[in-house]
Symmetry: C2
Subunit: 172 residues, 2 copies
């Protein structure tokens, strides 16, 4: 039995999820897709990842049915499928954990329920409305508009200095 | 700026979480810790991972404060810290995603709220009690006691054929 190369023997849905989502950088690619980033160049500039790694991750996500690759204005665009959108609870849970236990400063961004502008709680629920908003009903925004990361000037970082609805194209 | 080797430039709690939890096998090690596996040998037999990788992952998790290494009956035991227990929502969300979108057969195991024996829902809530049980209040059990994976005969797999409360030592 091969050891340490894959999770095949694990008979576990967690192992199957990690086969698709567990490669280095994959979840950060998905994070940017939730932010509405759709083009290879924009992902590349925002992710500090090599062109080869990004190409590999995008191809894997398309093959797994998590992203759809389609042509928009003559360029390939990568868009979350239903399976991709369904990764939101995993991403949000990891993000909250990183904020509480990952060390470093607190997140500069927060997620609010679009319809009531209330920040969602640690479980992803809106305490104002008592619902669990899907990502398409959330807005990502700076926690403190005066505390943005001015060292980053790529187009995605610049757009994220203003509130943005998730799953809505971030850039033309 | 180095590319593709770490997430340092990402200024994002999700990236910080992945620095600690995102290495291959790490989340499956934590899964087994939730099941109550505490010894190196038992992890090794259950995880189909090489000794070197397991050693590396355990050391990283101890260093990050996710696991505590303590001596029990003359053997080192690895136990989830508060930060480790707090990874449960991430693991459960990934597990649910894998069950829905990971392909392959459905999970053979289910998680029930110990106090009412009701299976928790996709968000991790108990529909009977209307609460979100912590992992210490959950029992993992075969979904169908007649459908266990008889190909696996390591001690952890054998114990998991019976209901087991999470975070409770699984083996002597």
């Amino acid at each position: 039995m091969p050891l340490g190369t894959n999770y095949e023997q694990q008979d576990c849905p967690l192992a199957r999820a990690l086969e698709i989502l567990g490669e280095r950088w994959t979840i950060l690619v998905l994070r940017d897709c939730f932010y509405g980033v759709r083009r290879f160049t924009h992902l590349l500039e925002h992710l500090d990842v090599s062109r080869a790694v990004l190409t590999d991750r995008l191809a894997g996500l398309v093959e797994a049915g998590v992203l759809e690759r389609r042509m928009e204005d003559g360029h390939p665009a990568y868009v979350l499928t239903d399976a991709g959108v369904a990764t939101w609870p995993s991403l949000y849970a990891l993000l909250r954990w990183g904020d509480m236990f990952g060390g470093g400063q607190r997140s500069r961004r927060e997620f609010v329920h679009e319809s009531c502008s209330t920040r969602i709680d640690d479980q992803g629920a809106c305490p104002q409305c008592g619902v669990m908003p899907g990502p398409g009903d959330l807005v990502v925004q700076p926690r403190n508009p005066k505390d943005v990361d001015s060292s980053r000037t790529d187009p995605v970082s610049l757009r994220l200095r203003e509130p943005q609805r998730l799953l809505t194209p971030l850039l033309p």
